[in-house]
């Protein structure tokens, strides 16, 4: 045993009474955990390669498999987890930066779980969404400060900035082709189209095949400018400038050359096999004025017909930054919290940089109201909206809509093994390997996405109805609908809510 012995994180338990040696698990596992040993006439395992993606467990015809946490452990200490020790071993043997994926798994407070939603009793009747009309459609974009009316009494909409009309207040957030597969992108694009909402190309360009879904596509422009061309900008219903990402604030993107396949290379417009590097900063943006310059260059290129979105990571000074962005000419602001997912991020950054979306959203909404510029920009909350109740709480804290990514991937088969950066996703999502990609059937997957959004929308309407609210507009920023539970005065103050019982 070497000094750097790295024990398996998971134990693969096979019930040999049940196993019929069909070798399906062996064929299905891209991590090559299972293998058949002819001498022993037995299935054996390379346990250390298991990432607990549950693919084999799901596929095994005789339910012979279980993956559990490896019960073998180093001596316990509450200040020094086994994880930390193993990371040290990995780094001391390679000299490399730790890389991981999906959202921050550390034990930080989840404020969604510390807020409770109101309901009407007696004095303000609740509304039954099955019987009464409920409005969850949203228009994102700059709004006029005052309502003026035409001679016939109708509202004057002239001079209105372009708006993004979404049938549900839920959109699929940016995931690039490259970080996720063709089939995953197709599923998102088709679901967004059927739902009347939007998916987002991420910074990897737009595959030719998906131009047909352009009415429901948000195209992203990041520092690397991959795949950004006139056609691409024209294709988007809106253009999103990526300044930051919640999972890795202050860090750019880096798609390793091995993931730049033929097709990915075509979409990104770079040679096959070269690293696709998007550094953290846009090297032409050093101020809000510079950001304004990029925003208006995009508006000029698309004839002022499309809303421009600016996406930032939730960081310490987010309220002041948002105030600048609201004055920069951007139509929509996306705030991405620090628990948001990623296809790959340095572990230390993912786990330690940024702030929770709940606090960021509350402080941004408040700041923009205080400065009387809230109408200048719509706010989309992102970065760990896990369920419809998280979404309702986000609306009450001031979000106009939410972006979801991890829930969307779960809907199409992700088992949250947090191994996307390995590019061998057994569920055909975070991979470019054709044999794995084909495991994801877009015909099935897109319907599951549609189902998910329908289900959430219904739940949102039920919660709204319970509060006696029949339009999302009346829930937006309505913090009286929230109460904190087990929060300090300071936390309540930032969230702008009272404690339960008050």
């Amino acid at each position: 045993m070497s000094v750097n012995y790295i024990p398996a994180t998971f134990a693969v338990l096979r019930d040999n009474d049940r196993c019929i040696k069909c070798r399906a698990c062996e064929r299905q596992c891209s991590n090559e955990v299972h293998y058949f040993d002819a001498d022993f006439d037995k299935m054996l395992v390379h346990e250390d390669q298991c990432v607990d993606c549950q693919r084999c467990v799901t596929i095994c015809p005789t339910n012979a498999l279980k993956i559990i946490e490896n019960p073998n452990s180093f001596r316990k200490a509450s200040n020094y987890s086994q994880q930390l020790i193993l990371e040290n071993y990995r780094q001391s043997s390679t000299g490399a930066v730790l890389l991981s994926s999906m959202g921050n798994p550390q034990d930080f407070p989840v404020y969604w779980d510390k807020m409770l939603i109101n309901a009407s009793q007696v004095t303000n009747p609740s509304i039954d969404p099955l019987r009464e009309p409920m409005e969850t459609k949203v228009f994102l974009g700059k709004k006029h400060t005052h309502i003026t009316r035409n001679a016939d009494g109708s509202i004057d909409t002239s001079g209105q900035s372009p708006q993004l009309e979404i049938a549900y207040p839920i959109m699929f957030s940016a995931m690039s082709y490259g970080s996720i597969s063709y089939n995953a992108h197709e599923s998102l694009a088709r679901a967004a189209t059927e739902l009347g909402t939007f998916y987002n190309t991420g910074e990897g360009g737009l595959h030719q095949d998906f131009y047909q879904y352009k009415t429901n596509t948000i195209v992203q422009v990041a520092s690397g400018r991959f795949g950004v061309s006139k056609d691409y900008l024209d294709a988007g219903a809106a253009i999103e400038i990526k300044m930051g990402q919640g999972a890795k604030p202050g860090i750019g993107g880096h798609l390793p050359g091995k993931k730049v396949s033929d097709d990915v290379s075509k979409t990104r417009m770079i040679p096959k096999g070269t690293d696709a590097i998007s550094p953290a900063p846009h090297h032409d943006i050093y101020s809000i004025e510079d950001l304004r310059q990029l925003i208006f260059s995009l508006k000029e290129a698309t004839d002022y017909k499309k809303p421009v979105i600016v996406k930032i990571a939730a960081v310490h000074n987010v309220a002041a930054i948002a105030s600048g962005i609201a004055r920069s000419g951007a139509d929509i602001l996306v705030i991405d919290g620090f628990r948001g997912g990623t296809g790959a991020a340095p572990t230390r950054i993912r786990d330690n940089v940024g702030i929770p979306i709940e606090l960021a959203l509350a402080s941004v909404d408040q700041r923009l109201r205080d400065e009387q510029i809230r109408n200048e920009i719509s706010i989309v909350a992102a970065g760990s909206i896990r369920s419809s109740s998280d979404a309702v709480k986000a609306f009450a804290l001031g979000a106009d809509a939410v972006y979801i990514a991890t829930p969307a991937l779960l809907a199409i088969g992700c088992h949250l093994c947090r191994s996307c950066h390995g590019a061998k996703c057994n569920w055909g999502i975070a991979t470019q390997r054709p044999d794995l990609v084909k495991r994801l059937n877009p015909d099935v997957a897109y319907k599951r996405l549609v189902n998910l959004v329908h289900a959430w929308d219904h739940e949102i309407k039920e919660m709204m109805g319970g509060m006696g609210i029949n339009s999302l507009e009346s829930l937006k920023g309505n913090r009286l609908m929230l109460r904190g539970i087990g929060l300090t005065d300071r936390e309540l103050k930032i969230l702008g809510i009272m404690h339960a019982g008050e």
Binding site: R90, A96, L99, P256, K266, I270, T274, I277, H283
Partner: protein, 241 residues
């Protein structure tokens, strides 16, 4: 040819007028800081007299721009096709993320010229700068070709510091005998071979012709060629958690 007077016109109005002009040959006079000229136009040759503002030719798609004067920052940002010819100097971040077409600058360029330039198949962008450039020339360059001629700067190195930082594709040619200082480790520097010189001969001759410079004098000088030594500079940087 149509002439448009830019005096006292806001860029939005001016650019609309240029794009809508019923002639493919447009001259714009009295330009004074108007941004994004050429961005919304197509199939035109636009001659700019004066000083255009930032974002000149951003996302340019097949338009030819001729600037009789200096240009400012973010010229040719994410340019897709076409040509920008500047009879003067250009500001910072010229040709950011450019993926095809060419930018010819008679005199000097500011910082970060050619940053993030990319190429794909037959789309190979070109930037040629007659004079000198600021620091970070070709930063993160992923493709395409940058040529700095250093005309009038024969005694010094005509590029600033940190040339080619993060470069992982494409090539940079510099006409000089002085090696650039503090080149990053991943950039290889060699004296341009005869074969290399043949590869840039056409572009350099065209540049010289445009600006009335004797090409043979330029082409017979010593050039350095900078190329990255890896198209995967970060592969060794990470270990899976």
């Amino acid at each position: 040819m149509i002439t448009i007077d830019a005096k006292n016109k806001y860029y939005k109005e001016l650019n609309r007028e240029i794009a809508d002009a019923p002639d493919s040959d447009v001259t714009v006079e009295n330009v004074c800081g108007q941004r994004y000229i050429g961005t919304n136009a197509s199939d035109k040759t636009i001659t700019v007299i004066g000083t255009p503002g930032n974002g000149l030719g951003a996302y340019l798609n097949g338009v030819n721009l001729v600037i009789k004067g200096n240009a400012q920052d973010a010229t040719g940002d994410t340019m897709n096709a076409g040509e920008i010819v500047i009879h003067g100097c250009v500001g910072d971040a010229c040709g950011y993320g450019m993926r095809d077409g060419k930018i010819l600058v008679k005199n000097d360029a500011g910082y970060r010229a050619g940053i993030h330039m990319k190429e794909y198949n037959e789309k190979i962008p070109n930037i040629i700068i007659g004079g000198k450039t600021g620091s970070f020339l070709g930063e993160y360059q992923a493709g395409g070709r940058i040529i700095v001629l250093g005309i009038g700067y024969e005694d010094v190195c005509p590029v600033g510091g940190f040339c080619g930082t993060g470069m992982h594709g494409g090539e940079i040619f510099i006409r000089t005998k002085k090696r650039p200082v503090n080149l990053p480790a991943q950039v290889e520097i060699t004296t341009a071979s005869d074969e290399d010189m043949d590869s840039i001969k056409g572009s350099v001759s065209e540049f010289c012709e445009r600006f009335d410079i004797k090409a043979s004098d330029i082409l017979s000088s010593h050039f350095y060629k900078l190329t990255p030594n890896s198209s995967n500079p970060y592969t060794e940087l990470y270990v899976n958690q």
